[in-house]
Amino acid sequence: MRATKQTRRRVLQWVGAGLAASSFGTFAPSLLSGAIAIGRAYLSSPAGAGLTLVMLRAGIANSPVQARDWFQREVARNFADGDVVMVEGWMLARIEAQACAMLYLEAEA
């Protein structure tokens, strides 16, 4: 049970980092900590409160490569639809903020 959780967590971190990298390409060195900080801020904002992790429901952890394409499409779609959230001044696609939140939750777990 414990081994399964560790693996799942590592996969999630890896997927999350990949997803965040596809959004924040230039900032790869501080990527994980930056994304985690954004996730933390998002969760403590009114928009992020009570967030359910849609990412998990989408089953992305099972197929990271497809997940990345899916994520990029979702990000573009959020921006096209105007579905953005403000996190510490950053205007992010809702799905991006959710990905960061996932990273934060996993980092805390």
Partner: protein, 535 residues
Amino acid sequence: MFIDARTLPQGTVLEAAVCIVGAGAAGITLALSLHEAGITTVVLESGDLEFDGATQDLDGGAVVGLPNYPLDTSRLRYFGGTTNHWAGWCRPLDAIDFEPRAGIPLSGWPLRRTDLVPFYKRAQKLCELGPFDYDDPDAWIRETGASGQKFDPARLKTAIFQVSPPTRFGQTYREALRRSEAVKVCLNANAVDLESNANASSVDRVKVKCLDGPAFSVRAGYVVLATGGLENARILLLADKVRPAGLGNDHDRVGRCFMDHPWFRRAAIARFTHPDPALPLMFDEVALRGTTVFGTLAAGTPQPAGEPVAGGFRIVMQRLYRVIDGIDSLRTVTGALSGLSVPAHLWDHLGSILEDRDAIADALYRTMTGWRTSPFAPAMPASGPVTGAVLDINMEQAPNPASRVTLSRKRDALGQNRLALDWRLSDVDRETYLRAQRMVALEFGRLDIGRVNAKPLPEAGWPSDMVGSRHHMGTTRMSDDPKTGVVDATGRVHGIANLYVAGSSVFPTSGYANPTLTIVALALRLGDELRRLVA
């Protein structure tokens, strides 16, 4: 021909078909047009051929509303006017700027853009620009060998600006006017009053005073005020002998609806997803087709459905070679502290503030002084991959009758009441600022150019580093209806047969473009009108 008005005998009466008051971009353009037609014209210019402090002081006044540049430094009072130090950025207004817009009271000109296009084309030449081609930015971009971004046209577009050398109207056109037999330019001649007939339906003469010299007057069939966006209103308000509220002011419109282009420095920072994104013309002025051009991001049209009503904007970008976390953090910390709350994650923020303290000192110094360089400038690479950009927002101000100039009690050396400028912005302007930030964030995100960190507006009021652009507009606005405007579509003051106004004071709305190309185009149009009337 040039005359030093100080040499005229006291009480002289000069006669001409047309009297133009003021020799800046508008006055000189009009004078050239009348000179071509051989129409006798007297141009009254307050200053001499060179700058003089005592004359410049006549422009002094109070700034009592939102902070703006002092009135005596935001314009120049000698032959050539403020074009003696303008920067030369030129662009016509967009078609949407001329149209009435739902939710923006008093919007809409009594002209369409197509009415002005022939005059814009002629204005291009006077401002020493290239072809009148502003509507196809991709054509300019292709010439750079790059390809631009496919912005959603309702959200954002590339706006092309051309850069004048910049034309110093007082130098470039001095010889033509010196040689003119029809046009007499009187230097050191301050128009101080407009004497009208008994029912103020026409102006009989313009009264003039020199600072050290005689008083005299000009009688002309037509009088044109071309003294700049503030002084045009001042002269009308001062002409209070027959109409106590001033000429053209029967409906209390003169001086109201003052507009500038509010300029918000560092209104946002963009971090690019990948270095060096394709944003051709956005960062540099480039020589193309015999002129110099650059681009800015600007408001798309029509505004996307469902967005709050807002005005036009442009976003001027400067490259960042290294993104500075500390400045973002400083912004968060000071923003939270000024709202008396402790920001979340203070520890992280303080860390990045300490790391980037040179960059922060530099940014603060430059913000406070308005200078472009500072002794604290960190060793930042001036080249290398561009990883982000600082975004300034420069935007349209919606017409607002409460934003105005009035006569103050203070007087100048000629005994004339000085102006007080009460600059005010409205809720529509807040939406315009937010729209600019939101549109660039959405489009940078959608096209995967990068992400935008937006500087919030204070809950009430405006950021302390907001400045104007020294573009004074709207104080004698144009409208078909005398209840909502001072001049009609030709520039004639409502109710006065022979009095006209030239310059940006007649703009009913301001768009986001710099005003001078439109000022020159309107002056050429008025020139044609006067040529027709005088003939």
